[in-house]
């Protein structure tokens, strides 16, 4: 295999972020994402970029806030408990309209849970997580190659829309190794950050803040944010559809689970069961249209997650009642098995 490398999901994401122009990385150790922090501790100083092992995730995300306010591409990575700690600052950054990339190599919860991969941070990622009216762009890779490609995308859309972007992967994706293309610097979007804090030389001072005290000021600011979120919904929604054209049964799954579903799909088709797969790549914006369209022709949909049922709520909403939506989930590190999924489908036929 020429021009291919074998690399883990965590290291792939780390190297891609460097190639995407991440100038400052701040992190705090937590399994199963430690490879990213370790990789950055070596590579960033070599490239004269900033690496800090912060004293906590609170500090790490607020360092990201500062670096972003100063106008550079910046990232932090963590896993579920650490991402919970970051929520206040993420809410500030949404209000401040500060771009950054936050990767959650998610693990099982609640609480300390365990260190196995999990998809139980879906609600936290797509429904806000922190306080206030805001959304984040949430991107869910499914392969190590996508840990690379979607990291480039994440930095671009963060800058384009001035918003924090979450890459929601899980411990399995972070740890697994797969062959990928060589990770090379890509021409990425370049935006002028005239709002950044660079010293008020020959211009009026810039202020980065999320507080709006005047009568009606916060409502006006929030309406502006909502207009932006609507624009993102219109312009940026990624979804993979497989065999949905003639499908009577629609599987909906993302990330690690979608990999399993692809194999399930082949087996179902071999049994002459007309199944298709919808794989949301952006979890927010959620591919509502694709699901609605498929639901209008399907006998039923089956959502499969490594959680007790989170994305399934958005799938139900998107179907607008046009078809029943069933759910199968494993939790606490459990991974749905092909046979389990196939037998559920056969029981519903």
């Amino acid at each position: 295999m020429k021009n291919k490398i074998l690399i883990s999901g965590n290291e792939a994401l780390a190297e891609a972020s460097i190639q995407a122009g991440c100038k400052a990385y701040f992190g705090y150790p937590i399994t199963p994402q430690n490879e990213i922090t370790a990789y950055m501790s070596r590579q960033m100083p070599e490239k004269n970029r900033v690496f800090i092992q912060a004293e906590s995730e609170l500090a790490a995300i607020n360092m990201v806030l500062g670096a972003s306010a100063a106008g550079v591409r910046t990232m932090t990575t963590s896993s579920s408990p650490g991402i919970s700690l970051m929520q206040e600052a993420i809410s500030y950054m949404a209000g401040d309209e500060l771009p950054c990339v936050i990767a959650n190599i998610a693990r099982g919860g609640p609480g300390l849970g365990n260190i196995a991969g999990s998809q139980s941070d879906y609600f936290q990622s797509v429904k806000g997580g922190g306080h206030g009216d805001y959304n984040l762009i949430v991107i869910a890779p499914s392969t190590v190659q996508e840990m690379i490609d979607l990291t480039f995308t994440a930095f671009d859309v963060a800058d384009k829309y001035r918003t924090p972007v979450i890459i929601l992967a899980d411990g399995y994706l972070g740890q697994m190794m797969e062959p990928t293309t060589i990770i090379e610097k890509k021409e990425t979007l370049h935006v002028t950050k005239d709002w950044a804090l660079t010293g008020a030389k020959n211009r009026t001072p810039n202020a980065i803040h999320s507080m709006y005290l005047g009568d009606g000021a916060l409502e006006a600011h929030n309406e502006k944010l909502q207009r932006k979120f609507q624009k993102i919904k219109k312009e940026f929604c990624l979804v993979e559809e497989i065999s949905t054209n003639d499908a009577e049964i629609i599987l909906v799954a993302y990330g690690t689970v979608a990999r399993i579903c692809k194999s399930v799909l082949r087996k179902l088709r071999a049994k002459n069961i007309k199944a298709g797969l919808i794989r949301p790549i952006t979890l927010w914006p959620f591919p509502e249209q694709a699901i609605k369209k498929a639901a209008s022709k399907a006998k039923f949909l089956l959502t499969i997650e490594m959680s007790t049922g989170q994305m399934v709520e958005d799938v139900r909403l998107a179907t607008e009642g046009k078809a029943p939506v069933y759910f199968y989930g494993r939790t606490g590190g459990g991974v749905p098995k092909e046979e389990e999924i196939i037998s559920i489908i056969e029981s519903k036929l």
Binding site: E55, A59, N62, M63, L65, G66, V72, G199, N206, H209
Partner: protein, 245 residues
């Protein structure tokens, strides 16, 4: 006629929201004068805290960010590390710095982060209506110590520069107050020294300012100044607590 006194270039020509007698306005002005005198206005970036000084970006004529409560030094770290040649300072109250943000200030000092912190100790939480601060004095009455601060249940007040003194990354730690012109002159000297040290890339510097909060002390402006003199100065000694320059 030569103009001897006016608004520093680093201050915007606006009315602040501070209560009569509050020390924040004086401290803003001193910081602004120092920035003017060092001719660093165009390369200085400030970080406002959550607290009464949250609107500092409306008053100081420089680039500024607002930080989540207590995370002010972490935000400053992010800004400074990507722009090491800019002058970066945090402006924090005692709740912001010595309660919710204790971890950040300790580790920012530990990293020897080349920033300056202006630490305003008014012995209360001003913005939220006068609750106990980590710097509230023993027996001092606040909204949440209605019978006076009892160390048995509410602990002892923190002396921040003394606490940070053993940290190698902290190169300059000083304490002054705004209760008299003499003190203000010395305070300005300390703040200037802290900024100069930053310009020389010496490391972390912090100047604590004992500051009256007449509203929450429930005292007239003048009496609140007396209160600082008669109570705070006894517990919080003035002077340069550490000078490694």
């Amino acid at each position: 006629m030569e103009k001897k006194f006016g608004l520093p270039k680093t201050m915007k020509d606006v009315v602040t929201h501070y209560c009569p007698g509050c020390g924040h306005g004086v401290i803003h002005r001193i910081v602004a004068e120092v920035i003017d005198e060092l001719n660093i206005r165009e390369i200085t970036i400030g970080i406002a805290p959550v607290g009464c000084a949250v609107l500092a970006y409306d008053y100081l004529n420089i680039d500024m960010a607002e930080a989540p409560h207590g995370r002010t030094p972490a935000v400053a770290t992010g800004i400074k590390r990507v722009q090491p040649n800019k002058i970066v300072f945090t402006y924090q109250g005692d709740g912001d710095l010595a309660a919710i943000g204790t971890g950040e200030i300790v580790h920012t000092a530990a990293r020897g982060e080349n920033i300056t912190t202006i630490f305003v100790n008014n012995a209360v939480y001003g913005m939220t209506g006068g609750q106990m601060a980590p710097t509230t004095l023993i027996k001092q009455k606040t909204q949440t110590t209605p019978f006076g601060r009892d160390p048995k249940s509410a602990g002892f007040p923190l002396r921040v520069p003394e606490m940070l003194k053993s940290i190698e990354g902290a190169v300059y730690l000083a304490r002054e107050t705004v209760i008299s012109p003499k003190n203000i002159i010395r305070l300005k000297k300390y703040i200037k020294k802290a900024f100069v040290l930053q310009m020389e890339k010496a490391g972390f510097s912090l100047v604590e300012v004992l500051s009256p909060c007449p509203t929450n002390l429930r005292l007239s402006s003048i009496k609140s100044y007396d209160w600082v003199r008669e109570n705070m100065l006894l517990y919080y000694p003035l002077g340069e607590i550490k000078d490694d320059s």
